[in-house]
Amino acid sequence: MMTEISLNILDVAQNSVRAEASLIEISVDIDSAADRLAVKIKDNGCGMTEEQVRSVTDPFFTTRTTRKIGLGIPFFKQSAELTGGSFSIRSELGKGTETEAVYVLSSIDRMPLGNMTQTIHSLVTMNTHIDFLYTYSADGRSFTLDTREFREILGSGDFDAPEVSAFIKDYLAENHAEVSKLAE
């Protein structure tokens, strides 16, 4: 079991990395009025067959050979459903996969969102060959991180260069703080 929603996001996004996606879209949308927190992770990776999609929420299904258990998606699903929320996964072979977890914001069983800056920062700097589109919104305010923009400005994908990595971390931390502050 993960202790933060942001850790589930990091874990499930690793599936998109392994699916050889070239673009991974992640959104976190907090809506206090509707009492919900929605997380979407969408990729253009290799996708799954219908059979695999059906099996993927089963902890005793995995494509890995190192062990017989795959807990990433089951954890993510359980964390949302525990709060009275919902979970869905759609996938098409050769097109990509989209997962969505909706949490009831006020539920006592909702784990904290946690450190989204660290999650997105590690995804972006450890997978510089992949583009990420990240949107964080809270009650109508939002910000976006689009590595395609960064790539264009830099003329390269050196997101792990010290100066760029530091910029990305500050960009995420400051924008998260700003959006959360205004939403209060």
């Binding site: 190192t66 450190n115 590690s122 450890m126």
Partner: protein
Amino acid sequence: MKSLEELKAIREKMKGQVDIREEGSDATRVVVGMATCGIAAGARPVLTAFSNAVQERDLKNVAVVQTGCIGLCQYEPIVEVYKADGEKTTYVKVKPEMVDEIIDQHIVKGNVVTKYTIDAAKLG
């Protein structure tokens, strides 16, 4: 609020630098397990701590990378250090507080921090 203007300034600054980072055969690789088991056990802050430490010390021939599950989930977070000569050290149950010691003693000075290795964990 940070803006993309700052990134343009960084690009201009980087243009003047010659890239002296060589990730050739003499590179040390720090491999952090980032599968479900690793993440649940606390690998994310460990990965961040290694990346930060390598950048702060400006270590040119050290690459911090991630990997999936290596099948020793009960020992996560696991960090494998591959030195240039191919020698592999497996650190287990790694916490961010251990990172400075592993970097300074092992990666910089070449002395394996035995007490954090899998062999020490199995004996204990």
